[in-house]
Symmetry: C4
């Protein structure tokens, strides 16, 4: 599992979604434990030892380890849905810029074939709403603000000026959903550039 | 042939034309059979076993195999022209966004040297029309809507909000045409960005 | 020399400057002969045998070989200046689109530090003029239209809707100049996007 | 240390931040000496011998070696702060174009989570000011113009029409800060493209 996250970090980096030490990646170990990236490392150059075991309460199994500052946002998702096996969070230029040029509280997506990449969507003729939350350094408070938007689970969410959260049953599928979300966000940016 | 499609999938992925499990790739096996990518796999990480033999009626030779949902659009092209040896369909941000900012039924291209990449075109002083079809989850119905535009064969076509279809005598040449089409679409986007 | 062109073709392709079989690459063999890419091959996937010996009159040493259709434009440059050791021509989206959104006959560049990449320029406080020529399938006629603009040699030139020509003392330095030219063109595009 | 700079040059090149022979890279050797890239080489294809030992007065230890023309700008930073272990300067299209479309003397950044990549910043709710200096070929004069803006040290600075300077405790961390700065500049460009 740690090796899978290391590899996905490299693919996220190749897309330029994890500049500096930004982003965080996790995968479920068992019902009550996840592995999540250490704070302050480059996610494109991870080593397996950079993946830290954390309980779903957000506390590291080894209390000397320092997991990502945003660990609670990951835990919130794993607690919501036992089918979630991985959570990926990246910082793309497009998601950051798009969320800052609007003060809308959601990104409304329709007519995109790629929406079929998400579970339960079988046609482009849907309206998918991706919530956009104002950024907050108080992660506990932020997670409470996010909670009401997670039932039912959206296709992902955006933190304004910060980046995207995606989840899926395993690391590979979660990456696919992140790709699809970033693709949709890039399309929205491109449409605005052309107006 | 399967290995060629695997390799081309990697090159399409390097261009970011196959996010998540999008896109589909096929090549002719013989007069009445093609190999086409399995549904629900990432086209940048194919294995030869992900290429499924399908008759030109769209039915898999092995009825337990699940070929791409858009198999009929591939078959339609192979039936139209026995010289077609490969069909590639990708999802680029540019083709998706450009087709959604217009309700035009074609993309009109002129003055581009790269148009010479297409058969029968020996000068930039032509007008090439790339049909844009509204997307449809009913692939049989969509193929009937496409049919009248295939005589004579255009240089490719676009499904709105979805992506590009390109074809050629073999996998490598088909990729060249896809590159040329995506290049033209990127130029059209860039021109609109600069206005 | 052939191997150098093969390698540079790969670097041009990594920049997406040679889609399909576009672009052409050459290097001087001796005072009166150059090696130039064969017509109709992908310049990102060259093999040494794809480099054809051609006299400065544009005729292939082996009359059965088919050099690039634009060979005369290369020869014109080698004849102009014996210090030219390599010529590279690529098709970028930016050069293609920028030259089509204007009917100006030159691109006027000033204030760019990168201008110092060109011989004889030691400061950003210069005005460099890159001629833009209307495209023409009659290469002999086109070369006559280009000729008056080559004394003194500009930093490169652009064919409208087609691409950039760059030259240098050897293949590596020529690539640097192509990089600098494409960088400048991308800056000009980016500035227009932001207006 | 030389090998680290060679590797970072490759990563800068992969981002297209060092076209032609642009950019320069340095790392501290000891209290009074740094290693800096030779003038006139491609920073994406460095060899260890291209790293030249230079005193903090800007003079090469080996007087026959020719260090980067901008060596004094590096030395100025190392003299300012003994904790600086590396300085990287690149030329991106975005930094070049953005600094030329404005005559502002600083880039004002706020609301970006990625600002936390810089020392002393623990929240997106700050205002970071990146000075933009008019370019000057007289590097001694330019460094005097820059000096007043370095107390306290900003998160980096931009030379107009030229590029970005970033610094950090070691080569790897310095690259992270360069990534973060370029990310921020790209976001600012993207926001302007969408307006």
């Amino acid at each position: 599992m740690a090796c899978e996250l290391v590899a996905i970090g490299g693919r996220m980096d190749a897309n330029r979604w994890v500049p500096a030490s930004s982003g965080n990646l996790s995968a479920r170990i068992d019902r009550s434990t996840i592995g999540i990236t250490r704070s302050g490392v480059h996610k494109g150059r991870l080593e397996p030892a950079d993946i830290i075991a954390v309980g779903l309460d957000g506390l590291a199994v080894d209390p000397t380890a320092k997991p990502s500052a945003e660990t609670l946002l990951h835990c919130q998702l794993y607690r919501m849905d036992p089918a979630i096996g991985a959570v990926l969070h990246g910082h793309s230029v497009e998601a950051t810029a798009l969320s800052l040029v609007t003060d809308a509280e959601e990104l409304v997506l329709r007519d995109y074939e790629i929406l079929k990449a998400f579970p339960g969507i079988g046609t482009h003729e849907v309206v998918a709403r991706v919530p956009i939350f104002d950024n907050d350094q108080d992660i506990a408070r932020l997670s409470m603000r996010i909670a009401p938007s997670l039932t039912p689970l959206p296709i992902g969410y955006i933190l304004r000026g910060h980046g995207v959260y995606a989840w899926g049953p395993d690391v590979e599928r979660c990456f696919w959903r992140l790709e699809a979300l970033e693709f949709l966000i890039s399309c929205e940016c491109e449409r605005r550039r052309m107006l």
